[in-house]
Symmetry: C2
Subunit: 349 residues, 2 copies
């Protein structure tokens, strides 16, 4: 590594010299500390503005023991999900000094806690954003709390930690899907859910079950299979369902990735969507309108969640602990009905 001197860079000392004060006073102005005279503050502020001076983040990171990095920690297998959340976060970080760094992880690895903790120890990020399912690992976030580290979790149920959490009403969203299918007249309804590791799996399944129950329908165990939130698992699970002895007339998939897999399986089985099989996805990612027929899906505002999470993080320093949110922010979901759902053939006389 070769050192490179950049004469053009302007430092806090330059500002101090130009305004005739000590660098400490400049530092006070930068950090909006009190005990700086009004005229002095104004003078310095103007000089800072004129020169375009920006404090060196590395130096601040060293002194503050906290860098300007915000890490997105994820183990979510859906690239669509990750891409969207990134966009939201980036939007919120625009114009700030914070940078988004990516931290994929794998809960199956034995030392994954240690990986994340050592990242935190070494890089002292300003904060972390946890996406399901890592976000649901309370053992992990507890370790972070001990380190007094900022973080926000995206979760599908209340983890009892409102100041650090954005909650999505997954169960309610799934309930909407159930009602929609029941109202269309379906009675044999299949469900492909995600891995048990994900809380969203339980929430969505429970909500779906509750929605069916409102219409006196059951979520039959033999029509319920576990996928991996991936396309391939969707194909596989749907194939299983479609070749079982009681073929469902509708399938609700735990996310869009798997729902797209259902499309493929239906095709291979010679079934038409929605005539022979209605399909409902979850997330409402862009793919829903790129396949045919456009898919009915529960809209999950992933991008907005990323935005909110980042904003929450950035502001977490501004409010003293006792003024922070004590009730969780809940994001409502809604169903977008497209052309992948219709009444079952038996009712289409």
């Amino acid at each position: 590594m070769t050192r490179q001197r950049d004469k053009g860079t302007i430092t806090i000392n330059d500002i101090a010299r130009m305004s005739g004060v000590s660098k400490k006073t400049v530092s006070r102005v930068i950090n909006k500390s009190p005990s700086v005279g009004a005229k002095t503050r104004l003078l310095i502020e103007n000089i800072i503005k004129d020169t375009g001076f920006v404090p060196n983040p590395q130096a601040q990171a060293l002194a503050f023991r906290r860098s300007f990095l915000i890490a997105l920690v994820y183990d979510n297998p859906s690239p669509q999900y990750i891409a969207n959340i990134q966009r939201g976060v980036l939007k919120a970080l625009e114009g700030t000094r914070y940078q988004l760094v990516l931290r994929p992880c794998d809960r199956a690895e034995p030392d994954y806690h240690e990986n994340i903790l050592s990242f935190v120890r070494q890089h002292n990020p300003f904060g972390l954003i946890f996406v399901p399912s890592v976000s649901e690992d309370t053992a992990l976030t507890q370790k972070l709390k001990d380190k007094n580290c900022h973080f926000v979790r995206l979760a599908s149920l209340d983890l009892g930690d409102p100041a650090h959490q954005i909650m999505t009403a997954d169960a309610e969203g799934a309930k909407l899907a159930a009602r929609h299918l029941a109202q269309l007249g379906h009675t044999k309804i299949g469900h492909i859910h995600g891995p048990e590791l994900f809380q969203s799996t339980h929430e969505r399944r429970a909500g779906f079950k509750a929605g069916l129950a409102e219409f006196g329908l059951n979520l039959e165990p033999e029509l319920t299979v576990e996928g991996a939130y991936t396309f391939n698992s969707g194909v596989k699970c749907a194939t299983t369902l479609l070749h079982g002895k009681e073929r469902p007339t509708a399938i609700f998939a735990g996310n869009d990735e798997m729902a797209v897999g259902v499309y493929l399986a239906a095709r291979k089985a010679g079934l038409q969507i929605p005539e022979d099989l209605s399909v409902v996805g979850f997330d409402d990612t862009p793919v829903v309108s790129r396949i045919w027929p456009p898919m009915t899906s529960v809209k999950f505002p992933i991008r907005d969640l990323g935005f909110d999470a980042a904003k929450l993080l950035i502001n977490s320093d501004k409010l003293p602990p006792n003024e922070r949110r004590t009730s969780p922010q809940i994001v409502e979901l809604n169903l977008i009905i497209r052309e992948s759902t219709s009444a079952p053939k038996s009712k289409m006389l």
Copy 2:
């Protein structure tokens, strides 16, 4: 910002004390400088290993004037593309101390150069990876060279800067697509290319044209339209082509996103793929097998490119400038034939 003392952290001073040398000597060992006695070096290395000491990146960043950040700079509108490249880069960075930060940008903004340069000035990233089309902005990279900043460009043609470049043979890839369609017997072939701003647009179009020429075919101007590398633009352009007076029997799209748009447009026009219309995409992103029929596409190893780019960057310090690559690394593309292409109806007697 509240300071937080972390007693658990071990510093270079601790190592120095434990090994009975000055911290400068420890620093030498860390940085593999010569002129450290063999036994001293071994002693210190062992102590470092035993304690699990890792030098503080913020402090090093300050002293080195270079952080451990690698920025991915992109303006590419395809989320699939970005997601894949990220995965490759992250893979290469795994186990290193480098972190991936995201830097989306917009070439249409007047101060986008300044945005990137000010990011570089402030955060002193170790290096940058440029993805098309930003990668083709030679005015921008020239400014970076003046700052002695590491970077790698992904490009579809030789930008005359082999040490900083990974080149893809886009023209050759497009030629394969042309030959395939020509061999199937198509003569009226449409092309939806990307924005003129992207060099890949020109390369792919030129390669496609050359491939057709081998079979005595022309790329007719009225069957050539400009898209934006996005799904929606694909739908729009394909609709135009399919409703023109000379309807093509095959369409080659500049990327998969647009090719998927062609699928939708064909559907709306009541055309079957591949019977009424053959479609070839470019990139071979996962979406090609999620739609029906599975799409023929030119395989563009995006993920590998990301991996290679990151590796190249990481190693750029290890080789002295005069030993660096002088001929560009060229990545070959190949055509993956699936079910979206067949002979035109007229030849299917």
